[in-house]
Every structure is written in structure tokens, then in C-alpha cells.
Amino acid sequence: MADRPWIMRTYAGHSTAAASNELYRSNLARGQTGLSVAFDLPTQTGYDADHPLSRGEVGKVGVPISHLGDMRALFEGLPLEEMNTSMTINATAMWLLALYIALAEERGDDISKLRGTVQNDIVKEYLSRGTYAFPPNPSVRLITDVIAFTTEKVPKWNPTNVCSYHLQEAGATPVQELAYALVTAIGVLDAAKARGDIPEERFPKVVGRISFFVNAGIRFVEEMCKLRAFTELWDRVCRERYGVEEPKLRRFRYGIQVNSLGLTEQQPENNIIRIVLEMLAVTLSKDARARAIQLPAWNEALGLPRPWDQQWSLRAQQILAFETDLLSNADLFNGSAVIEAKTQALIDEAWTEVERVLEKGGAVAAVESGYVKQALVESNAARLRRIESGEQVVVGVNRYEEGVPSPLVADLDEAIMRVDPKVEQAQIEALKDWRAGRDQDAVDAALKTLKEVAGTDANLMDASIACAKAGVTTGEWAGTLREVFGEYRAPTGVGGAQVSRSEGDAVQQVRQRLEAVAETLGRRPKMLVGKPGLDGHSNGAEQIALKARDVGFDVVYEGIRLTPEQIVASALEEGVHLIGLSVLSGSHLELVPDVLKRMDEAGLRDVPLVVGGIIPDADAERLREQGVARVYTPKHFALDTLMGELVELVAERAG
């Protein structure tokens, strides 16, 4: 008898709750078996749509959920007791879960029957994804509050989904991915144990509810071994560290989204092949098979995917599960000497790194000290260097670049999804109506209680559910906790990162040119690098900052989550010769013109502004018309060439 297939999901959500609801219904009708909710960046970072930082981000990379009313619209007509809902939500996971539970209770559902996942993993937010809201210790407390609550009251819920996915996206090697995910899980479980309010007999069940969210890259044999290694290492941790005896509770349960990092802008049609091969890594071996799979879309390096693009990826899953004979077979690799040796090597190396991080005080301490971040930045720099030198082959990028143009991208502007810019204003208006129509006294009272509980060690779940029911907004919930917990900026990892020893002539030439420009200017060319908006994927900006330093720029690295006002103020105070901004969330047309306008007002008209990101050609043209000096997209992977251009830009303006 064939095995049951994995849960098939599509990471989806955009514009409004109502539009996303429609999308979910059609995805389910097409054979998708679970929901995966993508939230927009304001919702992920705990800001209302009318906050200055939300500008341009509302409804872009996911659905905006500002309050219970939005949650109602999102799940309109979808029976919660029957759904398996995965929510990619972290800093504000408790809040979105509270809204979900409030909705279920309002509908008269039995919350103990709810099934699903909140990602609720903060460590990788500091390391890679950047959508954190609070400092590490309060964030860990929120995670364990959710764990303590759900293991008691919503027992089928996965309260945290430890993510190695984003570590690979940030450049992690398989060994680093294994090690840092495991220390994250250990950190969460140790913290849950230290709370003291989870009865000892329930703790094995808590361990059993920990699930993982993993990545798989194109080297699919090694990736499969990585998953076999994960299975064994997790079993070891559960047994040795937490004394879990029941094998079922020690199972390595994971969902997966395959690699987006390796998707190319050049010859993008090839990406569907990469996606399918990567899916093999997490399905071929029965003993290490994913429980839920979501695949990226072929055109993600170009812009946001359309429903058809996502459907194509879903079809790939369906063909593998239902047409092939994969699910009729036992594990194909047990007894293979090659696979076992590779797996064992990964286990040994990863465990050494696990022990190293635990010696440094564990995951949170290694985040705060910048140790892990720096290791990832270095790995990513090494990866980019291998691609740039051709050592790592990427078809269509550094080999076999010539080919017949793809009809799929004949009209590039039609080959991606566009979010109507009116969505943001509509969400803001709806939010104002919501605030006007609710019982303000009830809201104030609920927030007051939330604040009081936040100042104690008590579980914040009940107070959050009460807030949800009273009509509190996402920004109010997070804002109240910010008042108690404070805000935080994670280490950038770029300061101490080392780069390669081997350097080509190209770098030397850029350096010499830069020195000459420095002589003309009287001081060393200085560049500001930063990310406007709420998008926290800082890997690209970090690599540019590092490379710029290594060709001789003085680089002011501003990090993530900057307002246009902050960027321009920094550029002025720092006296930079060049500004480089990175935007991956699709909000470039809102944010970049605002920066330009403010530069004009500050008298910085002469300072060239360059922009990098996922930027469609037509948008790039518009940005250039408005005064952006250069637009870079993923196809500009040759950093030496790019740096040469930046030096020339400074030279031109220096006269």
C-alpha cells in the first residue's frame, strides 16, 4: 500500500484579507491540502498599516491582518476545525494565534481540535529574516508562553517551527544549518523547562510538539543526507538531553520550502527544474521525508509570483506524489554505504558545532555576541565568490548563458504579480473605521491588563486573546509590549567578518582606481548601505557592504528597517559620496522616490543613489528616470564589476 502523501501547501497571501481568502479557496479547490498564510511585513513586525514604517509594505509580501475583523475575512467560509493552517509568523506569533483562537471561539469551534503551526522562531529572525520586534529574552518568553498554552489547550498545534530554512537562505552550509537549528530548538526547550509551570509529565509531549522548517538546495544528494542527519541528531537530543523515551515523540517532524536563494533571474524558466530536483531531496528517502511541502515559484527572482506560477509548483508536487511510484516503496537508501558515510560526516561535524555554540552559552548568547551571524555572513561571501569565479556552476548565469529567449518572460511586466498600490490606503481607511467602531474602554482595559501581565512572569496568551476579542490592533498589541520589553537591533555580523585571501586582478584594479579617486576627493570615498522599509532580508546588503569595504570604501552600514528620513539624515551627517539601498519586498516604487525627494530637500542632489533588489525592468526604468543612478538585480552577481561601477559613479560626481 502506498504511503500517504505529504501535506501540500502554497505560501500565499497578498493585498487584503478578502483577496487572500479567495486565493485560499481556489488553491484548496486545485488540490492543495493545507494552508500556508503569508503575512505582510507590518503584521510580521507589529505595526499598524498607518505607521510610518509600514509605508509601501501593506499587502505586499503577504496579507495585512490588523485586527479580528481581518482574521474573520481571511477565514470566511473555511472551517477552522478541518483546516491545517500554517502561519509564517514570528515576532507577533502569539498575537496572530490569539486572533485565530478568538475567531474559533467566536464561531463556537472547539479550540482543542485546531491543527496548524505558528512559525514562532525568533533566533533566525535576528540572523537572517529581520522581522523581529523585541529583544531576545522577552522574545523567547513569548515563544515559551505559546508552547505552554498550546500543549495544554490546543494539543494538536505546533507552537514553534524551528527554522533552518532562513539560515540556508542567509548562506549557511549544511553543517551550519543543522547545528544552528538544533541549538535553537535546545534553547527554546531549555527555556520552556526553566519556566517551571509545565508539569514534568507533560514535558515529553512538549518536546514532541517541536517541529522544524527546513531548506533544500540544489545539491540534492547532500541535502537528503542532511535530513537523515537531522533525524538522527534530533533523536539524540530528545533522548540524551530531555530523556524522552517514547520514539514517536522523538520523531524529527519537518515542513519544507525548497531553496529560493539559488533561483536565478537569468533564464528563469530553468528554475522549475531546480525546484523539482530540490523537492527530491526531501521526498526520496522515506525515513527522512517531509510532512509538509511548499515550493517557491519559478519567477521569484523577478518579482512576486502570480497564482498560475504557484499552481505550476503545486502541480510538480502532485505529479511526484500521485503519478510516480515513489510512495509505494520503502526507504530507498537504507544500507547504502555512500549515503551512510555522507550522513555520518554531517552528523559529526554538526555536533561539534552544536557543542561549540552551547559552550558559548547557547543560541541566544551566540546571536547577541554576533558569533553565528558572522559565520553566516562569511559562508555567504564564500558562496558568492565561488559563483563569481565560476567554481560553482549555475547554468544560465556563469555557464551556458547564451540561448533562445524564453517566451515565458517575453512580457516581463506581465510575468509577475503586481499589488494594487490603492490597497494600502484602503487598509488604512478600514483600520480607522475599525478603531472608530469598537468599544474603546474595552480596548484600553485589555491593553492595560496586557501591559501588567507583561511585567510579570505570567503567561501572556490569555491577555492577548482578550485583546483580540476587545478589538485591539496589531500595532497596539506590539506597541504595548515594546513599551515593556524595549526595542532591539540585532548584530549585523559584517563588522568582524573576514573574506577570502584569494583576490583576483579585478579587485586590485578597483582598489587602485578607488585610491586615485580618494586622492582627487581629498578623502576616502564613503558609502552608505541600508535597507528602507520593513524587509529584513539583509544578506544582499551585507555582502555589498563587505565587498565595498574590501575594495577600499569607508562603508556606513545602516542595517535594516530604516525610514527614508533616517537614510537621508545619515547620508548628510556622515558626508557620504554614495548611497546604496536594498529593497526586496517590492516596495521600491514607494520608498525610493521618497528618499530622492528628501535628498533634494537636504541638498544632497549630487550624491548618487543606487538601488538593488527584486526590481522588474519597467520599475527600474522609472526609478532611473526619477534620478536613481543605477539599479541592480540578482543578475548582477559579479560584485567586482559592480564595485568598479560604483567607484566610477563617485569619480564622475567628484568632477
Partner: protein
Amino acid sequence: MKRSGASTDLLNAEGIAALASGVLAGRKASVATALNLVEDRREGSRRAVGALLRALRDGFAGSCHRVGLTGPPGVGKSTLAAALARTLRERGRSVGVVAVDPSSVRSGGSLLGDRARMGFDPGDEKVFVRSLATAGEAGGLSWAAPAAAQVLAAAYEVVLLETTGVGQTETDIRHVADTVVLVVQPGSGDVLQFLKAGIMEIPDLLVVNKADTGALAERATSDLRSALASTQAAGLGEAMPILATSATEGRGLDALADALDAHRAADENLATRRRRGAVAWTLQLFRRLHGRHGVETLGGDTALEAAIDGELDAEAPPTICAHLSERYLAAVGRRESPPATATKETPR
């Protein structure tokens, strides 16, 4: 106006006067332009800097408090500087910050990452942050830092100077700051190292940062107190206040701000200290250009110091240095500019 360097209108007297009045009025654009000029290594710009600093001194009451923050890497100096600046802003003081980061030995470039962690309100006209690279300079300060501090001191009530670290050569900070704060971590043993290296002569205040827990903070400060007592007994250092802070949690900052005020108020020798600092800075500028040969040609350290001191009432250090250069070049019989290698930064 080109922002990329000193434009010609900055090199004449009117341009300098206009720039100086902008700085004195605390206009950010003027302060930024003045700092760009300060960092400019071209000879014409160096002359303009001398004139600018003089103009600033003439229009300036000298009430600014210049505070140096020094200490080994990783003790949280930037976070402390940011938290202290916020505390000072809450007290209504305007604040200028100079944050110094190391330059890469290989490329000469640098990553100036401190700013990202400071998180000031960009609309606040009364706080200004400038990052500088060491550019191969020993001592944890940038060559441009003293002049940058002078510019900021003319525009803001408090100037915070954060160095890259602390080493055996680091005495520069004392020439620039009215109050030097040495920042250490609890239980790091750093202090004993500093004692041995004689660095404990630098600070006016000791801060144990990252004292996130009460017990740890107390133990760390008491350890320090006893360590200091033993060196004083050996005649190696002076009594100084020891404070515990947690910049991330915002603890101990009011006490630090009070202690800084108290040090400043009690310092009867401030004018002498500043004068000595200015002499040392001028001598350093000259030595950078002409080395030991330069110093010996003009009669040695003591004679030069006296010469500099004699001119300080009339001119700013960069101008005095230029005068000394002329004397030196005349003495060695060369009329041309100093050799290019001496003005170029040389990454170590």
C-alpha cells in the same frame, strides 16, 4: 555646492566665515560640510581647516563638555554612547557623537557599523553622529578626530568621542576629551591588564557596562575598587568614581550623566588640560608630516611645545603646524611641499 570635498568657496575667508556661523548655529548641513573639510587631506583644505577652527573658537564660549569613551572591543561602547546620548537629550542637552571604527589593513576601507545601533530620531536637530575610520592611525582615534571634535564642540553642548579600543599607545583620547571614561565588562580581568600597561592613568571615570544583573554589577564594581586601591597604594593611579551601567536595559545612565557633570564641575584645571591637549595634538600633526627628523631639526619636543604654546592664543593647531612645516622646510633648505607619502594615509 559639491559635497564631495572642499569646494573653492570654502577656501576663502568669506566662505569660512559663513561656514563657521552655520556650525555655531548648529545647522546640520554646515556641521556636515565642516566635517567633510576636516577629513579632507588636500593641502588647501588643511589651511581652510585651520582658519575654520579659529573662526569657531572666536565665536564660541567654550562651554562644551567633551567626553571620551574608551575601552576594549566588545564592551558595548557604541550602545553605551547611544544610551548616554539619549539620556543627555532627555536632559535637554544637544549632543554630537564621533564614533571611530578600525580601517581594514588590506584595503584601507572600513565598515562603520555603530550608527545602525544608535537609533536616534532623524528629525532631532540637536543630535549629530559622524563615523570616522582610523585609517591606520595608532591609538584608536582617527587622525581627523581632534578637529572633528572641535567642530562638534562649537555646535553641540556635549561631544561624545568613542574610540575603537584601548591599547598601550592610546593616550590620544586624553588630548581631545575633558573627561575620559574607561568602559570595561564585568569579570573580564581587563582592568588588571590596563593597570600593568599603565593605561589606568588615562581615565577620569570607570564604567562597568553590561552589568545586567544587580549581583554581577556589584561584584564587578567591588572587584575594581579593590584592584584600584592596591594600585593607589603602589602610587600608580588616582582615585576615581566607578559606576555600573547596562546600556541595553538603560540602567545606571542617569548616574553616569551626573558623574560626568560632577567631574567637569570639579575640574579646576580644565583650561590647562585643554591647552596641553592642543599642544600635544599640534605636535602630533607635525610629527606625522615630518617625523622625528622634523622634531629634532626644530629643537626637540620641549622647544616645539613651547613654540606651539606661544602661538595657541592666535591660531588653531593645523595652522600652527603649517607654520612649523614652513620653518622645517626652510631649515632643511627645501621649498617644495612635504613629500606625498607623508600626507597619505598608510594603513598599518
